[in-house]
């Protein structure tokens, strides 16, 4: 029982740390997202040859 309660505390602690990690990662994602697609209008140069 003691073990269990202690584990619960560890999980809670981990969650708190995790939220912080999430926030840091979120900052990155927002920047990657805007970069994720290239600024070049895709497809305009490969003109279709159907």
């Amino acid at each position: 029982m003691d073990q269990f309660i202690f584990a619960a505390e560890v999980v809670l602690n981990g969650l708190m740390t995790g939220v912080m990690y999430a926030l840091v990662a979120l900052g990155f994602v927002l920047i990657f997202k805007r970069r994720a697609s290239s600024t070049m209008p895709k497809g305009f140069w490969r003109c279709s040859r159907r």
């Binding site: 209008p41 497809g43 305009f44 003109c47 279709s48 040859r49 159907r50």
Partner: protein
């Protein structure tokens, strides 16, 4: 066709076409050494379905990109509703009420069909940030209105059953239809369609033709479309511009264009490519 006047003309099927809304005057567009558009002029009238046809690489998409602000011509003028239009970014053109689709389909693959179409209405949303944040008053009303409008378009284009599907998973033909839906969501005055039927089977082409006609008919939307399939063009359009190697080689009703020798040559020339 009845006599064309300043104010417009009446089509063979009795639709009243209005005055010129978009005029392209001596447009020349170059990419380095490649001349994509050579000194082309033509106009688009209120309420008509205007087609641009021509072989691959003729400069049709480039022309549409000039109208929608994606490309900026080195020479010539774009005159919108009688006013020469300064060089504009695509988003500014969109805000003038000019919507478009792309030859190679540009959708938001990660979003659902519904969300994709909703983006077409972004410019219709005016609610301030705060009222959006607490989902109150103007924001709520606006969201509901926009949702209702989008649902109407979904019904109109018969895509109810894929409303929630992520667009990335849809087959090609349906993607094209969703792209049309998104453009319609903006309730444009001028709708630009770059090869809306390319790569479709006969049945899909018929559906798409029907949608294009009823958009024009029911909403009075002016449409400028690029199409490869001569038959489709003849059925749909009121007037046709023919391009070849960046030049305009024909302009007129489908019947006029079909009997134009330069056009016949150009088309026979590429039929075997």
């Amino acid at each position: 066709m009845n006599a064309m006047t300043q104010d417009g003309y009446v089509t063979a099927d009795g639709r009243q076409i209005g005055p010129v809304v978009m005029e392209l005057k001596n447009i020349t567009l170059r990419f380095g050494g490649v001349v994509a558009i050579k000194d082309i002029s033509f106009d688009i009238r209120q309420g008509e379905i205007r087609a641009i046809i021509g072989p691959n690489g003729a400069g049709k998409s480039s022309m549409l990109n000039v109208i929608s602000g994606f490309y900026h011509p080195q020479d010539g003028q774009v005159i919108f509703k009688g006013q020469p239009r300064p060089a504009m970014k695509p988003y500014q053109v969109a805000r003038l009420g000019i919507a478009r689709t792309f030859q190679n389909i540009a959708l938001f693959d990660g979003m659902s069909v519904l969300d994709n179409i909703m983006t077409g209405r972004l410019n219709k949303m005016k609610a301030g940030f705060l009222s959006q944040a607490i989902w109150w008053g103007a924001a709520e009303r606006e969201e509901n209105e926009n949702r209702a409008a989008v649902e109407r378009i979904i019904d109109f284009l018969e895509i109810q059953n894929i409303r929630k599907t992520p667009v990335g998973r849809l087959p090609y033909g349906l993607k094209k239809r969703v792209e049309l839906a998104r453009a319609l969501a903006a309730e444009p005055n001028l709708l630009l369609l770059d090869e809306p039927m390319a790569g479709m089977n006969v049945e899909e082409k018929e559906d798409m033709s029907r949608f294009i006609l009823s958009v024009n008919d029911e909403f009075g939307t002016t449409i400028c479309l690029i199409e490869h399939d001569m038959g489709v063009v003849m059925d749909l359009s009121d007037r046709v511009v023919v391009m070849d190697y960046g030049k305009k080689i024909g302009d007129g009703t489908p019947a006029e264009v079909r009997s134009n020798q330069a056009v016949i040559d150009a088309y026979l020339g590429v039929a075997h490519d």
